[in-house]
């Protein structure tokens, strides 16, 4: 684990803050290199399933030179706890470590659904990495939304 990758995910999330997307970003790292990243893309694509993690996984396969259908040996840094879809995708991809920032007690695959408890050999999961920064960004977004600035 290296905070610099979460800092990079936060940088992406901040850079796209001007969009009408909940600011969530994901970065996939392998052998100490960033091989892919993704930003929440629901509104821009008009597709409720295009979360940051899904785009990062697909990017890793397209440009990551993995030569495998799996992400074994890679880690993902996400500014928000993954939802069921994204955690399911990460488990299927056999990524080695999941590091996330803010907890999502309403929709989080781990905090709410505890899916890792019934899954055989889930990845290692670490929550609360740079939690305050990740959480602040999302709260800031919803504040702007409420104030009609989004």
């Amino acid at each position: 684990m290296n905070n610099k990758y979460m800092e990079y995910a936060l940088k992406i999330a901040s850079e796209y803050f001007y969009l009408k997307e909940v600011p969530v970003a994901a970065v996939i790292v392998k052998d100490e290199k960033i091989i892919a990243s993704g930003y929440n893309n629901i509104e821009s694509s008009n597709n409720a399933t295009l979360h940051a993690e899904i785009l990062a996984i697909n990017e890793a396969h397209y440009i990551g030179d993995l030569q495998s259908k799996y992400l074994t040996g890679a880690d993902i840094y996400i500014t928000l706890e993954p939802c069921l879809m994204c955690a399911g995708a990460l488990f299927l991809s056999r990524i080695s470590n999941i590091y996330f920032g803010a907890y999502d007690y309403e929709n989080g695959a781990f905090s709410k659904f505890e899916i890792e408890k019934k899954y055989n050999n889930p990845p290692n999961i670490y929550g609360g990495i740079m939690e305050e920064e990740c959480s602040s960004l999302i709260k800031g977004f919803f504040k702007e939304l409420r104030n009609g600035n989004k």
Copy 2:
């Protein structure tokens, strides 16, 4: 619910049986029209997350003329019970009805993980539609695989 859509999904799954993919297909229906379909595409794409349902959802958004980020009012017919990722994607997409054929007691989002029980307003979920036909196709695939014919 109309069996003809599951028959169509089975037809797709049968047509691509020659591939080295577990034969699972999905069809999305809206206003009695098939607006998208998908076939398991893991091996061909070298990406463990490209399940039939994900491809069908994305196709619905690309070509389905939905003009919405959601699939509300649409139904999906899948030859196999969806996994966590796919069920999560379908819940996010707010699809109205999920009809699936064979149960997946090892990986199924409902049979094993029971995610619908903790989810607010999940879609309607109906399993076991043309179960024997759907199940036979998958069993046939694994038989071929064991016999070295895949």
